[in-house]
C-alpha cells in the first residue's frame, strides 16, 4: 500500500514538473529539486548526483527523473517518473502542432513566454546558489566549481566530458 502511494505521488509530482518545466530540460531542475526535497525522497547531494547522471548519459536532462524514480520506488518507480515527466510536453507538442500558427498571432504570447523564461533563468541561478552553499564546504571544492564554470563558459566543452573529468579529479582529490 505504501508502495502504491509512492507511485501515485511520483506520477502526480512528475506530471507537474513536466507541465511547468519551460526553458528546455534545465528548466525542470528547480521544479524537480522542490518536489524531491519536499517529499524527502533524496538528500540534496543525491539530487545533485541525479542531475549529473542525466548529463553523462545521452538524451535529455529530464532523464534525471528516471534516477529519482528508481531511488524512490525501484524500476517501476523509474518507469512511472519517466513517463510522467515526458507525457505533458509530448501532449502539448501535438496541441502546438495544430495551433502554433494561430498561437503566434495572439498578441502577448511572446511576452508571456519570455517573462517565463526570464524567471526560469533566475530559478536555476537560485538552485545553483543553494547547491553550492550546501555541497561545497572547503576551498578545493570552490576551486573545482570555478574551473568547471570557466571551462564550460569559455571553451564550450561538452558537459558529459566535464563531469567525467570532475569525477576523476574528485576520486583523487576528495577521497575520504
Amino acid at each position: 500500500m505504501h508502495f502504491i502511494g509512492e507511485l501515485v505521488s511520483l506520477l502526480l509530482n512528475f506530471l507537474w514538473v513536466g507541465l511547468l518545466g519551460f526553458g528546455g530540460g534545465f528548466g525542470m531542475i528547480p521544479l524537480m529539486k522542490s518536489v524531491v526535497l519536499s517529499h524527502h525522497w533524496l538528500s540534496l547531494g543525491t539530487f545533485d548526483q541525479a542531475i549529473a547522471m542525466g548529463q553523462i548519459t545521452p538524451g535529455p536532462v529530464a532523464i534525471s527523473a528516471t534516477f529519482i524514480g528508481e531511488r524512490v520506488a525501484g524500476p517501476i518507480g523509474a518507469l512511472v517518473a519517466t513517463v510522467a515527466v515526458f507525457a505533458p510536453s509530448l501532449l502539448l507538442i501535438v496541441v502546438l502542432n495544430h495551433w502554433f500558427a494561430r498561437l503566434k498571432t495572439i498578441p502577448g504570447a511572446q511576452n508571456v513566454l519570455f517573462a517565463t523564461l526570464a524567471a526560469v533563468v533566475g530559478l536555476i541561478a537560485g538552485v545553483a546558489v543553494t547547491l553550492g552553499v550546501s555541497l561545497i564546504h572547503a576551498w578545493p571544492g570552490v576551486v573545482l566549481a570555478v574551473i568547471v564554470a570557466a571551462v564550460a563558459l569559455g571553451w564550450k566543452v561538452p558537459y558529459w566530458a566535464i563531469i567525467l573529468a570532475a569525477g576523476t579529479v574528485g576520486a583523487i582529490w576528495f577521497r575520504p
Binding site: S34, I56, I93, A118, A119, A125, A145, F174, P176
Partner: protein, 203 residues
Amino acid sequence: MPGVSTPSPSLMALMGVYTKIGILGFGGGYAVLAFIRSEVVDKHGWQTAEQFDHVVEMTAFAPGPTTSNVLAAIAFRLHGWKGLVFGSIAALWPSFVLIMILAAVTQVLHNPWLSGALHGIEVAVVGLLVDVVWTLWKDVPKAVITAALAVLAMGLTLLGISPVITIVVAAALGLADFLVRRRPLQHEPAGNPEPPSAPTGKQ
C-alpha cells in the same frame, strides 16, 4: 537530398534512426539538435530545412527538453500518435537503461574512490549550472522586466518559495507587461540599442 522532403519512412526505419540519436546524442541542447538535423533533414530528407526550423521554433512554446520535443513533433508529423509514442520510446530507452545501471551501481558500491568521484561530480554540477544560467539568459530579450523577473525568481528560490508559484506569477506579469506597454517583448536587432519602430515624435 537536403531541402527536398522524400516520402515518409516506415515506423521501423524511424525508430532505428531515433535509437541511434538516443545512443549517440550526448551533450544535449544545440549539439544534439545539430545531430538530429543532420539525420532527419540532410541524410534522410524526412523534413525540409524550413520544416525543421519551424519545429524547433514551435518547441520553444512547450515545456520539456527541446531535443525530445523536436523528435516527438517530427515523429508525430510522419506517423501520428503511433509515431509520437514509439519514436519517443526509441529515442529514450538507451538513456533509461544507462541511468538504471548507474543508479544501481552508485547504490551498491561503497568505496572511498567512488565517494570522492561522486563529490567531484556534485561540485561540477554547480559550476555547470552557472553556464546554463548564462546560456539561457542570452536567449531572453534584455529589458527591465526580464532582468527584474530573473532577480525576483532567484530571490524567491533562496527564500524557499515553490518554483510553481514563481513560474505562474512570471507568466502573469508577462501578460500584464503586454497589456500595459502594448508591445511584444522581443530581441532587439543587432547593433541597434534603440527600441524597434519607436515613434520619433516631435523634435
